[in-house]
């Protein structure tokens, strides 16, 4: 399998006037083949969202990115704006967590889809429009022909997330970054979105980095999983292996974490996640 994305020693720090804060991402290595799906799993603040943003070059000052991100041979860290713009959209697409705010409220969804198609793919207005309808159909919007002229507020949250996915895949990216795309949605809608993403990756051969804090969700979409804690990748492997036999203490604790057993989060300190009930590892298989 050819390597599509290669991340080496990625570090992201946010500068403050009192000196640099603790790094949000602290030496992450990552390798992703074409068509592969990787789940980035971790608790809040573990650096998974910042990692996904860094892949798109969306970390702004005072955030500072170091290390190396190579997408299809192109170095993205400290790359000029022009390089980043070329990769964004057509190389790497992104779906955000907050689907309610991901669409501009003053334009119809069709206008937002066609704009990208016209500008980036050089399509004519008519072509872009019919392609937009196809895309909306592909993400499961009923009556796409009519709905293409509707405004974002006329869609439900789940439908808006479908529209966002349509926008992200409109430019046929080879890698899709989904940053907790289902966190704001309820469980039934979430299932539909996950099936949709799964289907899209299978049909188009698109690779995907799926950021989530939800073990069950990770298991539904990905073959491989990378567990993050405190800005580091603590464990990586096929999802079956990691869930069945977690080797890192943090992963073990994460898998065994469920309501009723919760200890205080302060028990989890950097590098010394204790392993006091590893044998009760949740069998997610």
């Amino acid at each position: 399998m050819t390597t599509l994305l290669e991340v080496e020693d990625l570090r992201v720090e946010f500068l403050t006037d009192a000196g640099p804060a603790r790094p949000a991402v602290n030496g992450v290595d990552l390798r992703l083949g074409a068509g592969e799906t990787l789940a980035l799993l971790g608790e809040s603040g573990s650096g998974k969202s910042v990692t996904s943003r860094a892949l798109m070059g969306l970390v702004d000052f005072p955030g500072v990115v170091r290390g190396s991100i190579r997408f299809d041979g192109t170095e993205l860290v400290d790359a000029p704006d022009r390089t980043l713009r070329r990769v964004r959209g057509t190389g790497i697409g992104m779906v955000f967590q907050d689907s309610l705010d991901s669409l501009n409220p003053v334009y119809t969804v069709g206008a937002q889809l066609t704009e990208a198609l016209q500008v980036r793919m050089g399509m004519t207005r008519a072509d872009a429009r019919s392609r937009s309808v196809e895309l909306l159909e592909a993400v499961g919007i009923v009556d796409a022909e009519q709905r293409v002229d509707a405004y974002p507020h006329q869609f439900s949250g789940g439908m808006r997330q479908r529209v966002c996915i349509a926008m992200a895949v409109a430019l046929r990216p080879r890698l899709l970054i989904a940053d907790e795309p289902t966190t704001a949605l309820d469980v039934t809608v979430q299932a539909g979105i996950l099936r949709l993403l799964r289907g899209l990756t299978e049909d188009t051969g698109m690779a995907m980095v799926f950021v989530t804090h939800d073990l069950a969700v990770a298991k539904q979409v990905a073959e491989r999983v990378m567990v993050m804690f405190d800005g580091r990748a603590v464990e990586e492997g096929s999802i079956g292996n990691v869930f069945a036999a977690p080797s890192h203490p943090y992963t073990r604790r994460l898998l065994s974490a469920h309501p009723g057993r919760a200890r205080h989060w302060r028990d989890l300190t950097k590098g010394e996640a204790r392993d006091d009930d590893g044998e009760e590892t949740h069998r997610a298989g």
Binding site: R88, G89, F96, V106, G140, L196, L200, D203
Partner: protein
């Protein structure tokens, strides 16, 4: 992509809705608000007067007839042109007012429009990019805020030729910071929204984001501010003309007419009061309409336009 499943969410198809939307809703709300309707009618009337009449009355308006000087108003003996009396040089007050309407509106509207466009553009750039661009623009705005705009206008017009063009430029430049700050504040909030990040994620350039993502969301606010500003710019222009450094004869605007009549205030009140009333009414109308516009465009304030059933107290 046939294996992709259809939406599992329930599809909500909105039924055909007879309630007005868009432009028709705006008209509907205008009819519901008596003060706004009156204000809009007054301003529309002035626009029609300013556009249609001047070519026909220009010569008559400036014809001086000393035998008719300070002719009292409300008599048709000298013809309809003199129904509002005559000024100190025997020019018909009504026709002078018509000519003054054109200059006053032209100066105020042009100055407001220029300031709004420039201020909004600079504000969006300032707020979106931040950094040193923002610093420089905001410091300039700060400095301009510390100088009284009337004083600056006085100084500039004293040095330059007082003309319509210079008057507009001075009034526009001094009002730019108002729009700059407003647009910047909105841009600062908008640039953090996910749809802006989402635009960047599909590879949009900064200029495209400013133009298509930010600008349409800032325009309604700017429009409301501009409406408010119309009143104050109108007053400022009248003030400058009153001081004699605004328009020059044979051009005439309301401020100049007020100044002309000052010497005869005790004997011929109408020469001063009539243009004064025109200024007050127009400024008031612009303020009321601005207030209505703000409410009419804000869905959260839609309740103001709902009529209370069964003769109860009605809002606004």
């Amino acid at each position: 992509m046939s294996s992709v499943p259809a939406a599992s969410e329930l599809e909500v198809v909105p039924a055909a809705d007879p309630r007005p939307t868009g432009g028709r809703l705006t008209v509907h709300r205008l009819l519901r608000s008596p003060s706004a309707l009156l204000s809009a009618s007054w301003l529309a009337f002035l626009v029609v007067v300013a556009v249609a009449l001047p070519p026909f009355v220009e010569t008559a308006a400036n014809r001086q007839d000393l035998s008719l000087r300070l002719l009292p108003p409300f008599s048709l003996d000298e013809g309809f042109a003199f129904v509002l009396g005559a000024d100190s040089l025997g020019r018909p007050e009504l026709l002078q007012l018509v000519m003054g309407t054109r200059s006053s509106l032209l100066v105020a509207v042009t100055a407001v429009a220029a300031a709004a466009v420039v201020g909004m553009a600079l504000g969006l750039v300032s707020g979106y990019f931040g950094g040193w661009v923002d610093e420089i623009l905001m410091r300039i705005a700060d400095v301009m805020h510390t100088i009284p705009s009337l004083l600056l206008a006085l100084a500039v017009l004293y040095v330059l030729q007082p003309s319509v063009g210079n008057l507009v430029i001075v009034l526009a430049v001094t009002r730019v910071p108002v729009y700059l700050r407003t647009a910047r504040a909105e841009a600062l909030a908008l640039r953090e929204r996910v749809f802006v990040e989402s635009s960047r994620a599909v590879g949009a350039r900064d200029w495209r984001i400013i133009r298509t993502d930010l600008a349409p969301l800032v325009v309604p606010t700017i429009r409301t501010v501009a409406m408010l500003e119309l009143a104050s710019v109108l007053l400022a222009a009248a003030g400058l003309s009153f001081l004699g450094i605004g328009l020059q004869r044979p051009d005439v605007d309301w401020g100049m007419m007020v100044a002309d009549g000052r010497a005869y205030l005790a004997s011929a009140w109408w020469v001063t009061v009539l243009p004064g009333v025109a200024i007050v009414l127009t400024a008031l109308a612009a303020n009321l309409l601005s207030n209505w516009l703000r409410a009419a465009e804000d869905p959260a304030q839609a309740a103001r336009f709902v009529r209370r059933p069964r003769g109860g107290r009605r809002a606004a």
